[in-house]
Amino acid sequence: MPAKNYASTRYSELAEINEGNVKNLQVAFTFSTGVNKGQEAAPLVVGNTMYIVTPFPNIVYALDLSKPGAPMKWKYEPNPEPAAQGVACCDVVNRGAAFADGRIFFNTLDGHTIALDATSGQPIWNAHIGNINIGETITMAPLVVKGNVLVGNSGGEMGVRGWVKALDAGDGHVVWTAYNTGPDKEVLIGPDFKPHYDMDKGKDLGVTTWPPEAWKIGGGNMWGWISYDPDLNLIFHGTGNPGPWNPDLRPGDNKWTSGIFAREPDTGAAKWFYQWSPHDLHDYDGINEQVLLDMNWQGKPRKVLVRPERNGYLYVLDRATGEVLSAKPYGPVNSSKGVDLKTGRLMENPDKLTGTGKVVRDICPTASGLKDWQPSAFSPKTGLLYIPHNNLCMDEEGVEVNYTAGTPYVGMNVRMIPGPGGNRGAFTAWDIAAEKPAWSLKENFPVWSGAVVTAGDVVFYGTMEGWFKAVSAKTGDLLWQFKTSSGIIGQPITYRGPDGHQYVAILSGVGGWAGAIVSGDLDPRDATAALGFVNAMKDLKNATTAGGTLYVFRLP
């Protein structure tokens, strides 16, 4: 799985590459994906084979690591419908594949989940679960838990009702579907549902916290990460922003959007829920990664869930109950004034309330969040969480919008600007126990790549200029960097090759929401292009070009 383990730590025990020798890293081999769109996927290494999923058209490659140059073993082309590109909100990305029981599972942009034989590349089953004509796409990496392939849909900018489905890994039939808006029985809320806070208690809140019928087109999609705790037998997944962005059109708390569910993996039954951003005002999707740790929290051992959230807070939750133990901003935040730990409620800043016909300036963080989908990594050696993130602010103006199925449903003019200090990105090491940063590195562009940390005390991440960097896990000192062919927005991994040596791999190829100006050739003269992101990325076209290349490094 892309996140290394069910706890999503992205920590590798490999230590051959360490702080002392990482400066000697050199290219072992490269491979062109043949697709010049945003490469957000993590390569997957199982045994002697590396598997890669490309952005649309979602080609899967298997590379043989046991031979020099890692030649292709097979490739599989699912040929998704080209029209799907027109309903994918923010570039046509794919975040990777999952492996279980000799099979590769992955999603296509046009709404299919496909199982391949990992040895031969032959398709075993193909489940069509998303409908592009209502704006549904799938970009997330699936997760396989107890024989179920967990998949969620994208489309929060198209008025798509969010869901998570469990498909049987054997034949692909739908075992359960949990919607993230609507009546309790469709959200799979039953007698076992015990949310910690009063604001999440009540009958059919997924209906009553919306204007009539609005929950049917209310978003709450699930296109990010899922973690799994085998001991508690719970999966954890976030829910995306409510639709449309213009909050005047959906008075109420808009359950169960911009929050997090704990569910029982066999049936999907909800155990608890917590809402990061009730009645979200700023497109703060709640779908980021959840890092599951067993740690001493203020003197007591606790099972916690750590979430660097889009609204700017680093949450530490008790993952058995959903209680918020800590919520501290890990960067500049003025859209809210903190989290009330008694009620669990985000305290919105009244000066930054958005609405129809009103321009509100300098809202931090932006719609893309202090951190978007780009996953962080946790090292048990240092106790630090390594967070790749953004430093951006924005102006917003709510506008009228009509719902037409299969077209955008946003209703907000947005233009983004660099955040305080002018650096648009940062890479922050957060001391979870101390609730404060240990160190933070400034980057010119948003850090839209994931991170990986190793027992050799080295952290890897990439920049949108194309630098692939290794920094010290303890101090953040830059130890090594390599300029790849295009901007990096992918997920670095490290693995032990068939020769017993440690390798580091990353896909280079700019795109995603932040890089859409390059991968989609957008015009920077329009401040609202790419939902306002282009305004903050005007110079990216001068810094990099589109690409799609795998880089693999090793020591000489």
Binding site: A83, C89, C90, E397, P408, G520, D523, D526, T528, A529
Partner: protein, 177 residues
């Protein structure tokens, strides 16, 4: 009598000078006109043949009323959801000099009506034909392809780019004459 004649003469001259733009406020609502074939390429074996033109193209193209209606509809039909205010997003930019499927009124009309294979939806039977022509005229104005006397002026909304009547012709932008 002379002053009266002079006054009449003046009045008739003034009236003649004031050529009021025709404002067709009750556009044809019928669906699906403009069925002429519109090639999306200039590569035509045996030599280029004249493309069929639609007489609606000229009547909508330089008309201030239709352009402003096109601007309003651009938001109402969520064109702006994908193409932003011309800079693009899910869909390509419309204010630059690049035209994937042709820059003529007829081509843009056909693109909106029939869709295109890489993501542009077909709005056939969803948008009345005359409104598609209004949208096509507005789309051309985003790249400076409309007379500045007719193109929409500045927005009431957040200023996100120069108004359409101040848009430079994208085809010559940044190139020496």
């Amino acid at each position: 009598m002379r002053p009266v004649v002079a006054l009449l003469l003046f009045a008739s001259m003034a009236l003649a000078a004031c050529q009021r733009e025709e404002r067709d406020t009750r556009p044809q609502s019928a669906l699906g006109s403009g069925e002429q074939p519109t090639p999306v390429t200039t590569l035509e074996p045996g030599g280029q043949r004249p493309s069929p033109t639609d007489n609606k193209a000229a009547s909508f193209e330089a008309n201030a009323f239709h352009l402003s209606e096109g601007k309003r509809l651009f938001g109402w039909f969520n064109c702006s959801g994908c193409h932003a205010n011309g800079g693009g997003g899910m869909g390509p930019a419309l204010m630059d000099e690049k035209w994937i499927y042709g820059s003529s009124m007829e081509s843009i009309h056909a693109t909106i009506r029939d869709g295109r294979p890489n993501g542009m939806p077909s709005f056939r039977d969803k948008i009345p034909d005359d409104q598609i022509w209004e949208l096509a005229a507005f789309v051309r104005s985003l790249s400076g392809n409309a007379p500045s006397s007719a193109a929409p002026s500045r927005n009431d909304d957040m200023m996100v780019h120069p108004s359409e009547n101040r848009m430079p012709d994208a085809a010559t932008l940044g190139k020496s004459p």
